[in-house]
Symmetry: C6
Subunit: 269 residues, 6 copies
């Protein structure tokens, strides 16, 4: 089965530019210092793999709440490595695959990477790759076992590999014995300050003028999102969801500020 599955997957080398672009469609907005820190940390590992002879394999995990930007950041770091081999392993490309086909497709990317002197592989959304369901704790053990081995298997002599994995369910990774396979972990936080939110809003030009934007920010502050006070609701939203809410608000040009505020208030209930 596995052998047959292997044949069905055609070889793929080099850099999958297009796929990477697809997952960063809305770009990286530098709404906060943490964004730059994360990118910088990522690049440090890129350099370690490039230069150190004793660690031909380095693996890192980007984890954080849903929609916090893990996939976009991981792809970003991979892209800026400028390694000759950059590949994205994503559940989006494996819809309807049998377990054996998934194992085969994943394995193939790693085997291909061993042919390049320098490679980076982004393993996106581990929970989806292993078909995880919290109900009954079901998952594909064969995909899990494949990841457990591939994340630790050293590339052959003279080859070097950086693995960047993403997940929203870090505790599950620990329960499955996956988290101890990573050399390092980076947490991607949600947006929690009005300043960061304002940065995003400005970047996507939600408001026709600074005045409009300022008015909206005041409205949010009055709704309690200014923070500081314990009685006030806390802002906590992934950048992905924020961008989605912004577009809904944009539908009613006369009520943008109101819709933004009520959508954010809805989120917490």
């Amino acid at each position: 089965d596995f052998m047959r599955a292997l044949e069905e997957v055609h070889p793929a080398f080099g850099v999958s530019e297009e796929e990477l672009q697809q997952v960063i469609q809305n770009g990286i907005i530098h709404y906060d210092g943490i964004v730059d820190e994360l990118l910088k940390s990522g690049l440090l590992f890129v350099e370690q793999v490039r230069s150190s002879t004793r660690t031909p394999l380095v693996s890192i995990l980007l984890h954080g709440p849903p929609g916090s930007g893990k996939t976009a950041l991981g792809a970003s770091i991979a892209q800026s490595s400028e390694y000759p081999f950059i590949k994205l392993i994503s559940p989006d490309n494996m819809v309807g695959f049998s377990e054996a086909q998934k194992v085969s497709a994943i394995t193939k990317v790693f085997t291909d990477s061993y042919k390049s002197p320098l490679s980076v592989v982004v393993v996106d959304d581990i929970e989806r790759l292993i078909d995880w369901t919290p109900m009954g704790a079901r998952f594909s053990n064969s995909v899990l076992q494949t990841l457990l081995v591939l994340f630790k298997r050293r590339p052959p002599k003279g080859r070097r590999l950086l693995i960047i994995a993403t997940s929203s369910l870090r505790p599950m990774l620990t329960d499955l014995g996956l988290s101890e396979t990573f050399d390092s972990e980076l947490r991607v936080p949600p947006i929690t300050s009005l300043r960061a939110l304002e940065h995003v809003v400005q970047e996507v030009e939600l408001f026709p003028s600074d005045q409009h934007r300022k008015r909206a920010m005041r409205m949010l502050e009055e709704a309690g999102f200014g923070g500081g006070d314990e009685f006030h609701p806390k802002l906590q939203i992934g950048v992905k969801k924020l961008l989605s809410i912004i577009e809904m608000a944009r539908q009613e040009p006369e009520n943008v500020a109101e819709r933004l505020t009520s959508a954010l208030l809805d989120l917490r209930s």
Copy 2:
């Protein structure tokens, strides 16, 4: 298996007018303000997909008790979008399908939708699509995982997609991690007021005259369905069940009001 299953499904483009008609056989009766609100909300999302460049994918969930009209409303919104691609994914068309065949058929509709600049896909009755049984919490994990990915997978550049899903079991969706994949949720309530009920009864011409109808409404009021009072039974019935009860009552023309009343009283025990 998956590959073979794919072949067995023939291509299907454009708008499945007939299928949509089939699920709105009894039309949409505007028995209450909520009906119009739901239709209007739906059309707002239709417009967002059409106009916003930053959200090429929007997904909404219609949920509510059995028979409350979710499928008919979802199909209605889809129909009025007038998008070039409108498709209904329904368990009715997948009787006897293996898991792989279901996954394949569902995936095919989404893949087809990516070829149209504007598409709407109605995913009807999620619990049946995933073969859900409360006993032992059994379900098809492969169909579930397919939905989890497809509901979040962005269409390729230049394509836009509105997903309208329906379900009677919202808590189950949350337990399965499905509800956090929706951009928005709309609740379809049952009928709870005598006024709404009267509206329906009038629309389907259950009574030969206004007098007959009025007498029946009084009988229902006396039976306690008038509401307001805490000691009285509460009216709570989906429009689908109500239409069924009305037809049974119609069988004994001389006793329509009595049968209607007793059928509604039976429902609560």
Copy 3:
């Protein structure tokens, strides 16, 4: 698998007179008013399907203890409908079928029924059709899901269908989400009065003379089956089991009354 299974099942149209006869081999004895009431209720639904344009699909459930006569009554109602398409779906004809074959055979009957303007389908013994075992709550989820969809799937325009299902395990149906798919439920009770029992005994000519029968009834009354008194044993027996006990008693012509009495007493222990 499903496709192959479909081929193995040959087309079948029209009325399966013989099969219906087979399950009413001992006729319908009108031992009690309830028997006529049940038959009349059944015929009301037959008429509703024939006449109402808004309910092209009506489904009813006959439930009651083992051997109470559900199958015979269901077949009786179906037969008297005189619809052009009358079919019995029975586990008796599916011994050794795989799950896929069962699903296929069941689906075929429904698909065939959609070709007739008026159809009645008797779905006998749901617990056996879904391979139900209380131990470990095992059952065929694929057959269950098939029933869940078929019991609600509307026939195409211009076609009408009456579904009559039977089961001894109503609580199980509720747990599986099946009972809410029925438009109506009819309970088939066991025999609990000596008068009804006497009616049966007389009908099958167990005793050579009225005198003999009267003597036997007195013996049963003395054994406490007369009822009324709380200290006395309660009579509670399905008509099917009663007919079986009667034939055993008939084996010893000299002791018929005694054997009848002791068999009924045995039942309760």
Copy 4:
């Protein structure tokens, strides 16, 4: 699978004299009145099937502790029916069968039986036929469901069938819903009196003389097997095990009585 399985089983009609003989190899010893009662009860059912027109299907269950003689008695009753069709369904002939093959083989015997006007089918050792294991309550649900249907399925018009089933695990049958399918149950008890034991010992000529046997019986009485007294050990042994112990004792001709006594004492610890 089922179809292919069917082909592998070749037709078999008539009476399987040899198989029946094989399970009564040591004959029926009339060690107690109960033995004759059981045989007589069995023959009453044989007569009922032969004569009554209203019960073309009668099924009885022989149950009792391991080795009490159920199989030998069942085969004996079947043999003395002198029906034209007598068949034994035994796990001995199904070693290594898949579930589908078992279902097919069992179904075939019943289908064959429907071709004879009068048939008796012995279904031996239900727990083995359904692959029952107490650990984890595992069993073959497909064989179970087959039995549940076949035990209740009426033979076609003009055919009559007696089913004799055996089992050591009556409570399990109830849990699986099997016991309510039988028209009658007969309990086969173990040997509990010294008189019955002496009868067996005499029949198989364990001792060279009456004197030897009497001495042995006294020894058993002194060991407490005489009963009556509460402080004494109770004799409780299936006839099959007793015959086995007797043969072991026979190995040391000088110590037969001692070995018999100690083997019986061992059994209780």
Copy 5:
């Protein structure tokens, strides 16, 4: 599957001398009276099968802690029977077999045995044959059911069979319903006395002189293995493990006694 599996197994008759030798590689050391008793008991059953006409099937179980010598003793008894058919069923020869292949291979040995007038079959290590794991109580039910039937199935007329089974997990056998299929059970104990240990040590010539051995025994006695005293550690070791420890100790000729003592002390912690 089963049929195909059968073909893959080639016929094998007669005595598998070599296989039996392989499992008694280190011979039988008569370190204790119990060894001779066990061999004698075994031979009594050999004689019973040979001579008694009423028990053509006798089955015995050798059970005891791991490494106590069950397999070697079983093979020994089989070998000394000098029956024309002697076969060993061992997990060693079934590595990688599917369940169906195991069932087929086991069944074949029994079927072959029925062709010889006198046969002995050694069924070694039941827990491994049924793939037993305590974790989750997993095992092959199909192999188990095969054994349950074969251990009780009488050989055809004129054939006689002795079954010798071994297991370290007697309680598991009881839970699985296997232990009640044996006519007799023999317990193979571990070595618990210094005298027996000395016997073994002497037999394998661990020490160059009697003096050396005596000194070692004193050392063991001082370490508390002399027994008698409750505060002292108890000696309890299978002969197989003891032979292994002896060979390790032999590696350091100058420290044999010390290593032996410390290895035995280690065992208890």
Copy 6:
């Protein structure tokens, strides 16, 4: 399946020098006395197999926390045996194998080993070989059963075999009944003393001068890793992880000591 799987695996004899080298890529650093002790113990077993005639099979287990050096040490011992047959069974070479393929590949190595007079087989990372997941305690029972048999199966006459297995999960081995199959166990501890750590750091030339290294050691001591004191954090790190941390620290040449210290402090949280 198994047979087909067998064919897909091509024969492999002799010594797999390259594979062994691959797992000792960073050499063996003698950072502590325990390292030499472990190697010496290993060689004692190598000698026992070579010389003793009574123990043609010896199996040992190397266990210890993740990254403590089990695989490198096992491979080292195997390599220095200079036996004609040395093989490594590693999950790295079985990615994507089905259970049957794993069983087949593992069995093949053992079968091949039986052809050499002297063999050593390293069975690396048992938990991965059996696809172990703590969640739900899932594992491949067929691989487990294969190991349970192969670890105890004696090589044929004249052949001798040393088995070296490794695992990080010794308690799991016990629960699965695997640990009692080993003749001996060796624990590979993590690094817990600053002296050992300094030894490693020196060996890999992390610091440009002795002065730099000394300064770093003082910093670690001040951070509390000197030990002795109960209030201070305990150093506990596998040599593999330590080497990885060292390379990360090397990335910032100006802050090596600081990064080393903070990385070690991070580990404990």
